[in-house]
């Protein structure tokens, strides 16, 4: 990505005259490069690294940024703080805990804080709300408890990142509501649950994400002692993609802005994709207004004119006003419109077109496939085709639940076998899947044979392999049977021991059984994350009234019930596979990556997933935003307009990150037979027909 030359003025500006710059425009204008070059200028001028705060929108960006900084040719320097807002807040809360714990309302401020990960937060909310659900709370909502819980937590987070009091959640939701009165009762239930949860956290020294935001923003930053330390230390401020930050992060930046020796902020005020996390693009525009100087690079000066024109035209069709005239032609932005009857045909066609592009000399790393979801069928079909053609292919997606990962399922199955006192049952299918991993190398067919013949469904235990007849032993393979016996004996001897912590069990299972030279390093990485997650759960266990082997039991139940994973399970990141075709989902993951493709394939453009947020009756991202006008009402018209606005943001973001052209891909029906004619498809058809 090239950097707009206009940015040089800001990069080389004074180091100590409190000059504040805002670089505005699409990411492709090169703001991130500008920040890196500015950092270099600061370090070369002898500014100590610890005096520079770099705020970045997410951890993946922070990782990429660090890598680029490491590669700079520089003399000696002190390490620079590259942080996300959450990372900065949680680190400083831990450090300044003795200063802030009491005033933040923690019942035992002298005890160290326990940080909750998202899995544990869900478990705790589930525990606390269960008796209320049994009393009839949220009755009439046909929704899995898991979804109720995640919306309750969402409310806590929304209040915290917008910076309003928790007690305002239900009143805000209620005031905006225009539908049936029965919903108001649900909002009352919401308020009771989240108050109960917050009270429990304060009582037991637990910090979930919402409390990290709140303690930092409301309590720590307000302490003079802290603020003195913070401003004496951080004399220079660099902020990347401010539109992807939440209002309380903007508050911090605003406050620091006027006290720093220099500040360089960047942002695209028309972007801001992670609205579901509470990011606030208009807040970035306000920061821009507070800076002494803005350098604005328009899309026309840094992106492909045809793609810009296409995005603009789609925006018009979605009712997003008239866009700036562009020299390009929307039709020329679209290389092809792939429409097939069945989804599998669409995927095949995508694979075929990609192979053709590669045969014409396009590098795989210049091709990106984006989709709202990267489901198993899509991943499998593309992976198979590209493997056969020897083309590198990487899937970049977020896991939604821990149990999606086969490694995790295998571990938990073996944990159930090792803990008969939990009374949990296993299916032959679950066991076969686990054995396939634990007894590697073992194909699925043989794994199933082992499970069928050596699992005693009644006792829930593995049988001795001596019970196999000679023929079966041979079919399974002697070496595999030997490995099976090692596993069985290991489980048996574990059961005979005094039980230890559950994450220690997982560690031993890994070290003593699962980790051998057959294990893929990627799988070992997933094990590490599972162990970290289980360990974090155990640390919070006393506050959840859990002891002994019950901790493991509850943890396993929670994961198997489909708890939404903390955000740290991803296959690979884009920068780890620069030479591969990347399949990226959801779309915002691609938009945040900084990747610019020569060709993009947009999949399932007929799907409502491009437009439709999840049905969330217990929360509302917009009503709980700081910017929401409380006199306004949440009507269908507002809902419709906001969805269109978001869809336009995605389309614009994608078009700005593409140089050559897009392939728009859809199938008439998905597996479920629903016709695929979502708003993106309709808008695309209208735009393309204009020129037909």
């Amino acid at each position: 990505m090239n950097m707009a030359p206009e940015f040089n003025r800001a990069i080389n500006s004074s180091l100590n005259e409190k000059y504040t710059y805002f670089l505005a425009g699409p990411l492709v204008a090169g703001q991130r490069q500008a920040l890196i070059v500015r950092l270099r200028v600061l370090l070369e001028a002898g500014v100590p690294g610890y005096a520079i705060l770099v705020l970045l929108p997410d951890r993946a960006t922070a990782r990429r940024f660090r890598q680029q900084v490491d590669e700079l040719d520089l003399g000696p320097y002190g390490a620079v703080d590259l942080q996300t807002y959450y990372g900065l807040a949680s680190r400083l809360i831990r450090l300044f805990w003795p200063l802030v714990a009491d005033s933040a309302g923690f019942a035992a401020p002298e005890r160290p804080p326990v940080f909750l990960n998202y899995e544990t937060a869900q478990y705790l909310m589930g525990q606390l709300s269960e008796p209320l659900l049994a009393q009839g709370y949220f009755e009439g909502l046909s929704m899995r408890p898991q979804r109720i819980i995640s919306q309750l937590l969402d409310n806590l987070n929304k209040a915290a990142v917008a910076g309003f009091a928790l007690g305002e959640v239900a009143p805000r939701l209620a005031q905006a509501w225009t539908g049936e009165a029965s919903r108001l009762r649900l909002y009352e239930h919401v308020q009771i649950c989240i108050d109960l949860y917050r009270g429990h956290c304060l009582q037991h020294g637990l910090l979930d994400a919402s409390l990290v935001f709140e303690v930092f923003n409301r309590h720590l930053v307000a302490k003079d002692e802290f603020w003195r330390y913070f401003t004496e230390r951080f004399r220079h401020l660099l902020v990347d993609s401010s539109e992807e930050m939440v209002p309380v992060a903007h508050d911090l930046v605003r406050r620091l802005l006027h006290q720093s020796d220099s500040a360089l902020l960047t942002g695209d005020v028309q972007a801001g994709f992670r609205i579901f996390l509470g990011v606030d693009a208009p807040g970035a525009a306000e920061l821009q207004a507070e800076c002494q100087e803005s350098i604005v690079v328009e899309p026309a000066n840094c992106a492909d004119p045809h793609l810009t024109a296409f995005a603009g035209r789609i925006g018009e069709k979605l009712g997003q006003g008239r866009t700036v005239e562009s020299a390009g032609s929307p039709r020329l932005a679209v290389v092809d419109l792939v429409q097939t009857r069945y989804r599998s045909q669409m995927i095949e066609s995508v694979a075929r077109q990609i192979i053709e592009l590669i045969n014409k000399g396009v590098a795989p790393g210049e091709i990106a496939i984006v989709a709202p979801h990267a489901d198993g069928v899509l991943r499998f079909l593309l992976a198979e085709t590209f493997r056969a053609a020897d083309i590198p292919f990487a899937v970049i997606r977020r896991y939604e639940t821990l149990r999606e990962e086969p490694v995790v399922r295998a571990c938990l199955t073996l944990a159930i076998l090792a803990h008969p006192e939990w009374g949990q049952s296993l299916s032959v299918f679950d066991l076969a899947e686990a054995l396939e991993r634990a007894l590697k190398p073992l194909d699925p067919l043989r794994a199933e044979l082992v499970a069928r013949h050596l699992y005693d469904l009644r006792s829930g235990q593995l049988k001795n392999a001596s019970e196999l007849n000679a023929k079966m032993r041979e079919r399974i393979g002697f070496a595999a049977v030997e490995r099976y016996e090692i596993l069985r004996e290991w489980l048996e001897s574990y059961r005979a021991e005094e039980p230890g912590a559950f994450d220690h069990f997982l560690r031993r299972l890994f070290g003593e059984i699962l980790s051998n030279c057959e294990l893929e390093p990627e799988d070992a990485q997933v094990y590490s994350k599972l162990i970290a997650s289980a360990s974090s759960f155990r640390q919070a266990a006393p506050a959840m009234d859990l002891k002994g082997t019950d901790i493991g039991k509850r943890y396993v139940e929670m994961v198997l019930a489909g708890v939404v994973a903390a955000q740290y399970l991803t296959d690979v990141d884009l920068e780890e596979a620069p030479e591969s075709i990347a399949l990226v989902a959801p779309v915002y993951t691609y938009l945040l990556s900084g990747h610019v493709a020569r060709y993009q394939f947009w999949l399932d453009i007929g799907s409502m997933s491009w437009w439709d947020p999840l049905h969330q009756p217990l929360t509302n991202h917009y009503v709980l935003a700081r910017r929401w006008n409380q006199d306004e009402r949440w009507t269908d018209a507002v809902d419709f307009s906001i969805r269109n606005q978001n869809l336009y943001r995605l389309v614009r973001g994608l078009c700005l990150r593409c140089r050559g052209g897009i392939y728009l891909c859809a199938s008439d029906s998905e597996g479920r037979g629903e016709v695929q004619d979502g708003p993106l498809m309709m808008a695309v058809q209208q735009v393309l027909q204009e020129r037909a």
Binding site: P57, D58, D70, P76, G78, F96, W97, A108, L277, Y527
Partner: protein, 267 residues
């Protein structure tokens, strides 16, 4: 094999000395391999936690925060003893400019050499004191510390990069000393001084070692150690097929200690 901007540290150089394969797996391939190092996992975990807390309390104290209440309420008696040692037998801290938990980085060809310093004091009388808090299990021996990579790297980096912390005044090696202070054995190690001659010798050693590492042509050249006792305290023992009963002389690497169990959020 080694990327531009790769950061050498005392930990990675020590690892290379112990086992080249471990260096490859840990620092070049970043392979996570969560196998236990000991049968006593609770003790291992507590050692890490205690080390983290101790470092944190010292840092908090340096910021003027009140930590006594937290220490008294701690249910870890050893941590309380350590704090008592700190109260009564902390090393001398001269007046001067104090920097805590500072990471300095100096260029070395296309790579960098970094040092994560617990505390540095630029004393008013011109001395430069580097402090490193030790919380490992083993009783430290002076001779081991005088001649290890940590001592070499820390003193070298502070001389090369210390001007960043002094407002541009270069640091004279003759003024530098490194003080290891073990929370359990506060008197075990005497300050280790430095000189210009040692600084030049350190530069040569680092140059040679880095050239040696960078000269390794492929993965195979990062050979497995011959010393099987290293494997007994190495997390990769199953990966390397060096399976043997776990040793009991495990210890923690304080340079790598981090609150990495902090949950992550996307913002």
């Amino acid at each position: 094999m080694i990327n531009k901007g790769f950061k050498f540290s005392q930990s990675s150089l020590t690892t290379f000395k112990q086992c080249r394969r471990r260096f490859l797996l840990r620092y070049l391939q970043h392979m996570q391999w969560p196998a236990p190092l000991t049968d006593h996992l609770s003790e291992w975990e507590q050692t890490i936690q205690r080390g983290l807390f101790f470092h944190q309390f010292i840092l908090q104290e340096s910021l003027g925060l009140h930590v006594e209440a937290a220490i008294h309420k701690s249910d870890d008696p050893l941590l309380r003893t350590w704090w008592d040692n700190w109260r009564k037998q902390a090393p001398d801290m001269p007046r001067g400019e104090l920097f805590s938990e500072t990471m300095l980085s100096v260029p070395f060809g296309e790579r960098r050499l970094v040092a994560k310093l617990d505390r540095v004091i630029f004393a008013e009388d011109g001395r430069v004191l580097i402090f490193d808090w030790k919380t490992g299990r083993r009783k430290p021996k002076q001779a081991e510390y005088v001649d290890n990579w940590q001592t070499l790297v820390y003193r070298f980096v502070v001389v090369e990069a210390g001007a960043l912390l002094t407002g541009g005044h270069p640091v004279d090696p003759a003024n530098v000393s490194l003080i290891y202070w073990h929370a359990q054995y506060p008197q075990a190690i005497q300050p280790i001084i430095y000189s210009s001659a040692e600084h030049e010798a350190a530069r040569n050693r680092l140059t040679q070692k880095m050239a040696e590492i960078e000269g390794l042509p492929d993965e195979a050249a990062y050979a497995k150690t011959e010393d099987l006792t290293e494997c007994r305290r190495c997390e990769y023992h199953t990966y390397c097929e060096r399976v043997s009963p776990r040793g009991e002389d495990w210890d923690i690497d304080e340079d790598e200690l981090d609150w990495d169990l902090l949950p992550e959020a996307e913002l």
